[in-house]
C-alpha cells in the first residue's frame, strides 16, 4: 500500500486529492461569505441604515479563535515530531478554545441585544447576526472535525502514518480557514 502511494505521489499526486477537494470546498465557503459581505455593502449604500459600534467582545473573541489555531498548529508539529504528549494535549486545548469561541460569540449576540440591536430590526443589525451566526455554524462543523481528531488521538495508538498525517492536515487546514475567515469578517465589519 505504502509503495502505491509513493509512486502516485512521485509523478502526479503532489497534493492529496482529498486535500485539494477541501481547498476547493473552502473556496466555495469563502464565496458564501463574500456574497454576504457584498450584500452588506450594497444594502448599506442603498440607505436607511443604522450605524452602531460592534460590542467589544467580538474583538476579544478573535484572539480566542486565533489562539485555538496556534494550539492546533502546535499539536500538528507535535504529531510530526513524535511528541505524543504535545500532540494530544494541544489538540484538547485547541478544542476547548474552539468551544469557548462559540460560547463567546453567543455572549456577543446577547451584548448586541442589550444595546437594542435585534435580529429583526434594521438590516444593519440583522447582517451582524446572520454573518456571525453562519460563521459560527461553520465553526461548529470544525468542532465536529476536532472531536473526530480527538477520538483518533486518544483511541488509536500513536503512529504518524501517511494516512493519519493527511487526515490531520484536513482538520488543520479547515480550522485555520475558519479562524482567518473570522478575521476577514471582523476587519470587514470594522472598516465598514
Amino acid at each position: 500500500m505504502a509503495t502505491v502511494h509513493k509512486d502516485r505521489i512521485d509523478y502526479r499526486n503532489k497534493i492529496h486529492p482529498h486535500k485539494l477537494a477541501l481547498w476547493v470546498a473552502l473556496g466555495s465557503i469563502l464565496m458564501m461569505f463574500v456574497a454576504l459581505t457584498s450584500a452588506y455593502v450594497v444594502k448599506r449604500a442603498a440607505g436607511n441604515w443604522l450605524d452602531f459600534d460592534l460590542p467589544k467582545i467580538f474583538y476579544y473573541n478573535t484572539f480566542v479563535i486565533l489562539l485555538s489555531s496556534v494550539f492546533l498548529q502546535m499539536s500538528y508539529k507535535g504529531f510530526l515530531k513524535g511528541k505524543e504528549y504535545v500532540y494530544k494535549y494541544m489538540l484538547v486545548a485547541a478544542f476547548i478554545m474552539g468551544l469557548a469561541f462559540v460560547v463567546l460569540q453567543y455572549k456577543g449576540w446577547l451584548a448586541l441585544h442589550s444595546i437594542g440591536i435585534e435580529l429583526s430590526g434594521n438590516p444593519s443589525g440583522s447582517f451582524i447576526y446572520v454573518i456571525s451566526g453562519f460563521h459560527a455554524l461553520h465553526v461548529l462543523g470544525g468542532i465536529v472535525a476536532l472531536i473526530l481528531a480527538l477520538v483518533f488521538a486518544f483511541k488509536l495508538p500513536y503512529k504518524p502514518t501517511y494516512r493519519r498525517k493527511n487526515r490531520f492536515e484536513l482538520v488543520l487546514h479547515y480550522w485555520h480557514f475558519i479562524g482567518f475567515l473570522w478575521v476577514y469578517l471582523l476587519l470587514f465589519l470594522f472598516t465598514q
Binding site: 473556496g27 435580529l119 446572520v130
Partner: protein, 616 residues
C-alpha cells in the same frame, strides 16, 4: 486511410505501455462497489452508474417540466377551451364554472410557469446534463479509475435525489407549489399573504434548492479535483478533450456562483421565518402596513443573478464541449482552433461573472452602472463567435457522418447562433426598455440555452450510449426524433420573437383584456399545437432509449466511432476501475483525425516515426 491497420493494437499498448497503478491488487475477490444489487444499482459509488442515475432522473424531470409547459401553453393558445378533461390530474386547480367550462386556476398557471423554469434549469439542464456527462466522461477521458472521492460523488447524486423528492412533494401542497417565478423575487416570495404559492410551496422550494446546491457543490469539488489530480501519465491539460475542459470550467463556475445563491436564500429564509427585513421595506398588503423597514428587494436580485447568469453558462458549456467532441469525431477532422476553444470557454466563464445586472436593467438600477454591464455583455459575443467559427470550420471539408449524434451537434450550433444573435439585442440596456419581460426574451433564452443545451445533451446521449449500455440506439428513430424536434423547436420559438417585438409580456395568464394583442391569438394557438406535437414526439426518444438499453444493436468493437479519446480503449462494458489491467498512458492530443494518411490516431498511440505530436 487504410494505413490505420499499421497502428499498434490497443490491448498491446495498454499491456506494454500502460501504467500499472496496482489498482486491481487491492480489490481481490469482492468488489466493494458492486457486490450486490443495492451497491451496484442504487447506492453505487461507480462514476458510470452515477452518471446513468443522473441521466434517468434528469429524463424523468424533463418529462414533468415539459408536460407543465404543455398545460400552460394550452391556456395561452386556447384560453376559451374547456380544460375539464384534465381535472382528474390537476384536481382543484381546474376551476369549473357554472356552464361546466373548466379553466386553469390563475395561481396554478403561475405555479406551472415557476416549476417549469426551476425544473428545466436546475434539475434537467444542470444535474441531468452536467451531472451525467461530467460523471461519465471525466474519469474515462482522463484515464482515471474513478472520481477523486467516489463517496462524495454518490452523495452528490443522493442530495440531488432528495432535492427532487422535496420539489415533487411541493407539487401536491394544498396551497400549491412555489409560484413567484423561477427567480423567486421578494417581496412576493417572502410574504405568504401575497400569493398562495408563497406559503409552504415556497418553503419547500427553498429547502429543495438548498439541497440541490449541496449536490452541485459536492459534484463540482469532485470534478475539479479529479481533473487536476487524477489525470493519467502523459495527459497534460493541453491534451484533454474539450469535453473535459468544458466540464472542468463549468464546475469552477458552479463552485464560485452557487454559494452566492445560498447566501441569497439564507437572507430570504431569514426574512420569511425570523422576521428580518433584508429584502422588505414599507410594504402595504391587503390594506395593512408591515413593520419591515430598511430592506431592499433589489439586493436579492443582485445575489440571485450573480448565480443566475453564470448558471446559463453552467448549462451551455457542457453542451459546447460535447458538441465539439461529436463534431470533430464525426467529421473526421481535428477540432479547428483547439486552444482558441479552450481560451473562449475560459473567457466566457470569466465574463459570466461580470454581466449579471443585465437581467436587472429595468429594476431601477442606476442607468450609468448599466453601461458597464452592457459592454461586458456584448464582449461575450466575441468568444462565442470564435467558438461558432471554429465549429463551422471543423465541419468544412470534413468526411461527415450524418448520424443522429452528429445531427444534434450541428443542430446545437444552429440553435446557438439563432439564439445568440438575439442576445446582442437584449444586452443593450436601451433596447431592453422595449424588450424586457416580453416573449422576445422568452424566445431568446429558450433557443440559446434551453433547446441548444438539450441538443448538446441529445448529441451526447446518442454518441455515448454505446459506452453506457454496450448497445446502439436506433438510428432511424433517432433521425426522426432529430428532425421533428429541430423543426418543432424553431416553429415554437421563432414566432415568439414577433410577439415580443410587439410588446406581448411574458408570465401573463391571458391577453383577453388587451385588444392590442388579440391579433396574436392564432399565432399563440399555432405555437401551442406545435409544442404539443413536439412534446409527444419525445416519446420516440424515450422509447428508443429504454428499448435500446435492453434490445438495441450490440456494440461489437471497442471503438465503434473510431474515436481517439481514452474511453474507447476500455472494454465494451467497463467494470469498476474502467480498465481491467493497466491504465492507458497518453502520447498525443485527442484530435489526430485524418493525419498523415491515418483516419484516426488514438491518444494512447506513441509517436509514429518522424511524427511531431504537438502540432496544434
Amino acid at each position: 486511410m487504410e494505413k490505420n491497420s499499421l497502428l499498434i493494437d490497443d490491448e498491446k499498448l495498454l499491456k506494454e505501455n500502460g501504467f500499472n497503478d496496482h489498482f486491481h491488487e487491492h480489490h481481490h475477490d469482492e468488489d466493494p462497489y458492486q457486490s450486490n444489487f443495492f451497491s451496484k444499482y442504487v447506492f453505487s459509488m461507480d462514476h458510470k452508474m452515477i452518471a446513468k442515475q443522473f441521466l434517468i432522473t434528469g429524463m424523468f424531470w424533463a418529462v414533468i417540466g415539459a408536460a407543465m409547459s404543455v398545460i400552460f401553453r394550452m391556456q395561452l393558445g386556447f384560453p376559451e377551451e374547456s380544460m375539464t378533461w384534465i381535472k382528474p390530474l390537476l384536481g382543484k386547480w381546474i376551476v369549473v364554472d357554472s356552464a361546466g367550462v373548466g379553466h386553469l386556476a390563475t395561481e396554478f398557471y403561475y405555479a406551472l410557469v415557476t416549476m417549469h423554469g426551476t425544473i428545466i434549469v436546475f434539475f434537467v439542464l444542470t444535474a441531468g446534463l452536467s451531472g451525467t456527462f461530467s460523471n461519465l466522461l471525466i474519469p474515462l477521458q482522463i484515464g482515471a479509475r474513478d472520481m477523486a472521492s467516489p463517496l462524495l460523488n454518490m452523495l452528490s447524486y443522493w442530495f440531488f435525489f432528495l432535492a427532487g423528492v422535496i420539489m415533487f412533494l411541493s407539487l401536491f401542497a394544498s396551497t400549491g407549489p412555489a409560484s413567484g417565478g423561477w427567480v423567486a423575487y421578494p417581496p412576493l416570495s417572502v410574504l405568504p399573504q401575497a400569493s398562495s404559492g408563497s406559503g409552504v410551496g415556497m418553503t419547500l422550494w427553498l429547502v429543495s434548492l438548498t439541497f440541490f446546491v449541496v449536490s452541485v457543490l459536492l459534484g463540482g469539488i469532485n470534478y475539479i479535483t479529479t481533473v487536476l489530480n487524477l489525470r493519467t501519465k502523459g495527459m497534460s491539460m493541453w491534451r484533454m478533450p474539450l469535453t473535459v475542459w468544458s466540464f472542468f470550467i463549468t464546475a469552477i463556475i458552479g463552485l464560485l456562483s452557487f454559494p452566492v445563491l445560498v447566501s441569497g436564500f439564507l437572507l430570504l429564509m431569514a426574512d420569511r421565518s425570523l422576521g428580518t427585513s433584508f429584502y422588505l421595506s414599507e410594504i402595504f398588503i391587503n390594506g395593512q402596513a408591515l413593520d419591515n423597514v430598511g430592506g431592499s428587494p433589489i439586493l436579492y436580485q443582485h445575489l440571485f443573478w450573480f448565480l443566475g447568469h453564470p448558471e446559463v453558462y453552467i448549462i451551455i458549456l457542457p453542451a459546447m464541449g460535447i458538441s465539439s467532441e461529436v463534431l470533430s469525431t464525426h467529421s473526421r477532422k481535428p477540432i479547428f482552433g483547439y486552444k482558441a476553444m479552450v481560451i473562449s470557454i475560459a473567457s466566457i466563464a470569466f465574463l459570466s461573472f461580470l454581466v449579471w445586472a443585465h437581467h436587472m436593467f429595468m429594476s431601477g438600477m442606476n442607468p450609468f452602472i448599466s453601461n458597464f454591464f452592457v459592454i461586458f455583455t456584448l464582449i461575450i459575443a466575441v468568444p462565442s463567435a470564435v467558438k461558432v467559427f471554429n465549429w463551422i470550420s471543423t465541419l468544412y471539408g470534413g468526411s461527415i457522418r450524418l448520424n443522429t449524434a452528429m445531427l444534434y451537434a450541428i443542430g446545437f450550433v444552429s440553435m446557438f447562433i439563432s439564439g445568440g444573435l438575439t442576445g446582442i439585442y437584449l444586452g443593450n440596456s436601451a433596447i431592453d426598455i422595449q424588450m424586457h419581460d416580453t416573449y422576445f426574451v422568452v424566445a431568446h433564452f429558450h433557443i440559446v440555452m434551453g433547446v441548444a443545451a438539450f441538443f448538446g445533451m441529445f448529441a451526447g446521449i446518442y454518441h455515448w450510449f454505446p459506452k453506457m449500455y454496450g448497445r446502439f440506439m436506433n438510428e432511424t428513430l433517432g433521425k426522426l426524433h432529430f428532425w421533428g424536434t429541430m423543426i418543432g423547436a424553431y416553429l415554437i420559438f421563432w414566432p415568439m420573437h414577433y410577439l415580443g417585438l410587439a410588446g406581448v409580456p411574458r408570465r401573463y395568464y391571458s391577453f383577453d383584456v388587451f385588444d392590442t394583442f388579440s391579433q396574436f391569438q392564432s399565432l399563440n394557438a399555432f405555437i401551442t399545437v406545435v409544442a404539443i406535437c413536439t412534446f409527444f414526439l419525445q416519446i420516440v426518444f424515450i422509447a428508443n432509449f429504454f428499448h435500446s438499453i435492453f434490445f438495441g444493436k450490440k456494440v461489437t468493437s471497442k471503438n465503434p466511432w473510431k474515436s481517439n479519446t481514452l474511453e474507447w480503449t476500455t472494454p465494451i462494458m467497463p467494470g469498476h476501475g474502467n480498465w481491467p489491467g493497466n491504465i492507458p498512458t497518453v502520447h498525443r492530443w485527442p484530435y489526430d483525425y485524418s493525419k498523415d494518411g491515418f483516419d484516426y490516431i488514438p491518444q494512447i498511440q506513441p509517436p509514429l516515426e518522424g511524427e511531431t505530436t504537438e502540432s496544434h
